[in-house]
């Protein structure tokens, strides 16, 4: 058991990091709850006083937050088709979470935009903020969550798949070390990054929490 009460990722999950990243290009991954490590978080935290002392920062939609304080959770609610992206430098315990809603910012000159609303502006912004705070690019690991999709619709409501496509493209361009994909499917996810360990606790309605 880790000091905060969260269980570490299973060996099979650690070993599959390379596979998960390499497996993305041709096919968008299916929801991976079946291969995820299950944990009843409330039970785990009640056993460990460190977990109970952790502070929680909440990220709204179209926003991001970073923390250099190890005993911190950074969480966001109800991703829906949005993407929740966590970055964590586990050597320096510096983490960040972005809740982006749309894939690409509008290409209109002089139009003021909220950079964290869009993946193409939000991800670089969060990365720079982390590096300014002391994180090293080569030590930052990334995890991505959300992108839920509505039932088959050829012409409508495809934000989830557009977001996943855009994230994949950006992850290649920015050479992100993506070690977990928990995307797509028909579920509404809430996530919480443990800044001590880099673990992300995922909550889905009517299901037990699990760690990625």
């Amino acid at each position: 058991m880790e000091p905060n009460g969260a269980c570490p990722a299973s060996d099979s999950e650690k070993g599959s990091r390379g596979h998960l990243v390499a497996g993305i290009p041709k096919e968008i991954p299916l929801p991976s709850s079946s291969r995820s490590f299950k944990l009843n978080w409330s039970m785990a935290s009640s056993l460990n006083p460190v977990a109970e002392q952790m502070q929680t920062m909440v990220v709204g939609v179209a926003d991001f937050k970073i923390s250099t304080e190890p005993s911190t959770y950074i969480m966001t609610h109800s991703l829906g088709s949005c993407l929740g992206i966590t970055f964590h430098d586990d050597k320096r315990r510096i983490g960040g979470l972005l809740h982006a809603m749309l894939p690409a910012s509008p290409q209109v000159q002089d139009q003021k935009i909220r950079e964290a609303m869009f993946l193409d502006t939000g991800i670089p912004k969060l990365l720079s903020a982390l590096i300014r705070s002391g994180a090293k690019k080569h030590d930052i690991r990334c995890k991505v969550f959300g992108g839920a999709q509505l039932m088959t619709a050829d012409s409508f409501f495809r934000i989830g798949s557009k977001n996943i496509d855009m994230f994949y493209r950006l992850s290649q361009e920015l050479e992100l070390d993506v070690i977990a994909w928990e995307v797509s499917g028909r579920v509404n996810r809430s996530i919480r990054l443990n800044n001590l360990t880099g673990d992300v606790i995922v909550k889905i309605p009517s299901k037990p929490e699990f760690i990625r």
């Binding site: 939609v61 829906g80 039932m151 012409s155």
Partner: protein, 289 residues
């Protein structure tokens, strides 16, 4: 399998919930009427202490306040205007009902209220942009579109858990599972509730047909499709979406017929989000006024 009689049981049970938004149809009628109705509106608002408090608080908020404080409802009505006042009433009355703790659908407390508010804001935004419905009507229709689900959850139907376990393996959509397992759909409950409370036929049609607008009466298809579109956009945004949320089929034929375009809906999302965030905090707290 549940019998059709259970539909009536659900409707009867929800009669006991306090704060049912039953005075909304009266307020809506008054808001659309002439200034001579303001006295009646004042009387109606004064009957509900919580609503009267919200109205006065809004009238004296930084956004509306002038040099003089509003000391009574009559002054507040004049300052806010009947449209704004109606919006406050709709949000306060419906919201109060929808935050009542219930189980089922994997909802956290207040989830249905958050989701309904998002649908209402999406509907209002699309109504203004596309000019296919009155924006206040669209807003209210968004707030009340899923009252039947709330009633089912309030009735504590264990069958809701069964639906959750059998979708999608046995039933591809939540609607089909409801019909097979409950013997009726949540939209039938919504229809029965709205009829009982005397809501105009437009709202009854929205509640009954919003999942399949192609089947709605032609004269009401635009607003029904508007709520259908708003519902799906709000689902993508995630606020308050339960275990059923992503298991509804978009009605592409109706969306195209009414003139919805995917790119235009996506482009409206930043504006919709800005409005939503005025009412829902990052932690999920709802502030109606």
């Amino acid at each position: 399998m549940k019998s059709a009689a259970d539909l009536q049981t659900v409707v009867e049970m929800t009669r006991s919930i306090p704060c049912a938004p039953a005075i909304l149809p009266k307020l809506l009628k008054l808001a659309e009427g002439s200034s001579s109705d303001l006295g009646e509106m004042e009387m109606l608002i004064n009957l509900d202490t919580g609503l009267a408090t919200d109205v006065l608080r809004t009238a004296n908020s930084a956004y509306f306040a002038s040099n003089q404080r509003c000391e009574n409802i009559s002054d507040a009505i004049l300052r806010l205007g009947s449209k704004v006042l109606y919006r406050i009433a709709a949000s306060t009355l419906t919201g109060r009902w929808l935050v009542h703790p219930v189980r089922g659908y994997g909802w956290e407390p207040g989830d249905l209220c958050r989701h309904s508010l998002c649908v209402a804001i999406c509907a209002e935004t699309f109504a203004k942009k596309m000019q296919i419905a009155d924006s206040a009507t669209a807003y209210t229709a968004g707030l009340i579109h899923d009252l039947g689900k709330f009633a089912l959850a309030y009735a504590n139907f264990t069958a809701l858990d069964e639906i959750a376990t059998r979708v999608p393996d046995e039933f591809p959509t939540w609607r089909e599972a409801e019909k097979a397992i409950l013997g009726f759909e949540s939209t039938e409950v919504t229809k029965a509730l709205l009829e009982n409370w005397g809501f105009p036929s437009t709202f009854v049609s929205v509640g009954y047909y919003y999942q399949i607008p192609s089947e709605s009466p032609e004269e009401e298809r635009k607003i029904v499709t508007l709520i259908h579109a708003a519902k799906h956009v709000a689902t993508q945004l995630g606020y308050g979406v339960g275990v059923d949320g992503f298991y509804y089929e978009p009605d592409e034929a109706a969306l195209k017929e009414v003139g919805f375009k995917d790119a235009e809906m996506d482009a409206a999302i930043p504006e919709i989000l800005a409005t939503i965030q005025r009412y829902i905090s990052p932690t999920g707290e709802i502030r109606f006024t």
